[in-house]
């Protein structure tokens, strides 16, 4: 069966670590980075389990700063 695989790219310099995407992700695979900050001093988010992402775009839609680009591809296996 064809399966949707997704991937996100976070603009970590633009991210303010508000965590709205962390709550919006239905698979719970986004989290604030541990002990890492960007040049403005914000903890940014990163994906914790990239293989599980389906590219549903929920995280990107709720992001107030438009930091997340979402990719999605149909996999034939």
């Amino acid at each position: 069966m064809a399966k949707m695989k997704g991937a996100i790219v976070v603009n970590t310099e633009r991210c303010k670590g508000c965590s709205l995407c962390v709550v919006a992700c239905p698979l719970d695979i986004i989290a604030l980075a541990d002990k890492k900050v960007n040049r403005r001093g914000y903890r940014f988010v990163e994906q914790t389990n990239p293989d599980a992402c389906t590219g549903c775009t929920s995280c990107a839609i709720v992001c107030p700063d438009g930091c997340i680009t979402v990719y999605r591809k149909k996999m034939d296996n």
């Binding site: 914000y42 990239p50 590219g55 775009t57 929920s58 839609i61 709720v62 992001c63």
Partner: protein
């Protein structure tokens, strides 16, 4: 993984009209989401060259720095008056104002009500977070009863502070308005609905159908002294009981 991240697989990205300037808003602020929706709608309407925004005084005073369309900065509360002039001089343009509750529902109440009552062909985006965010969290006309702010530290009381102003309900009673709605941007579903509302308001302006008012019930995590996630929860718990979300008036036939 690497073969997924390629331009042909992009399903969502920051709209091009929203430029790369870092927004000054606090983390999690609803303004960012609404800015993004406005940029997306203008792109989808192909109105990049015909859109004129009027920015307010308040947190959104720098809106003109973030969305790459024509803007005019207005004196405090006077955005609907400026928008009236722009739309009358350029009748084929998409003209909208972007105002907060302090700008629209306090100092600019007269301009707002009269512009809407005259049926000016403009769209008003009204961000209502029930507090004065920029100046440090003071009580606004839209502050809820019992809500604590810097200037009503024991909570808003009717005998001392009066009652919260439902400007959107007032607008729905005016003959000049064609579309009055209240939306929010706290969830994916709500954001999709808010985007449709903004799109309709902008189409009403382009097609000269009358005034449109889109209120967005918003959060102010800094003013409310909560995290962005807690602020969204507080908004759905407390704000929606008083500020009911949905269309109040729509005279435009689909």
């Amino acid at each position: 993984m690497e073969n997924i991240i390629s331009p042909e697989n992009i399903v969502y990205q920051k709209p091009k009209l929203l430029n790369d300037t870092d927004m000054h808003y606090c983390p999690g602020c609803s303004h960012g989401v609404v800015h993004k929706l406005i940029a997306e709608v203008i792109e989808e309407l192909g109105a990049e060259e015909k859109a004129v925004g009027v920015s307010p005084v308040g947190c959104a005073v720098f809106a003109y720095k973030y969305i790459d369309i024509d803007w005019q900065e207005a004196a405090h509360g006077r955005a609907p008056a400026i928008a009236t002039a722009i739309k009358r001089l350029w009748p084929d343009h998409l003209v909208f104002t972007y105002q907060g509750d302090g700008d629209l529902a306090c100092i600019g109440t007269a301009e707002t009500i009269h512009a809407l009552n005259r049926g000016e062909n403009i769209a008003i985006i009204f961000i209502n977070n029930a507090i004065y965010g920029m100046t440090g969290g003071q009580m606004a006309p839209t502050t809820l009863m019992g809500m604590k702010t810097a200037t009503c530290p024991y909570g808003r009381q009717a005998d001392l502070h009066g009652y919260p102003l439902k400007i959107t309900e007032i607008a729905a009673q005016l003959e000049g308005t064609c579309y009055v709605t209240r939306q929010s941007v706290h969830s994916v579903a709500a954001i999709r609905k808010a985007k449709r509302a903004i799109r309709q308001a902008f189409e009403n302006s382009i097609n000269r159908r009358g005034s449109s008012l889109v209120e967005i019930v918003s959060t102010c995590s800094s003013g409310w002294k909560k995290t962005p996630v807690e602020a969204n929860e507080w908004m759905t718990d407390k704000m929606f009981d008083f500020y009911h979300v949905g269309d109040l008036k729509n005279t435009v036939e689909d």
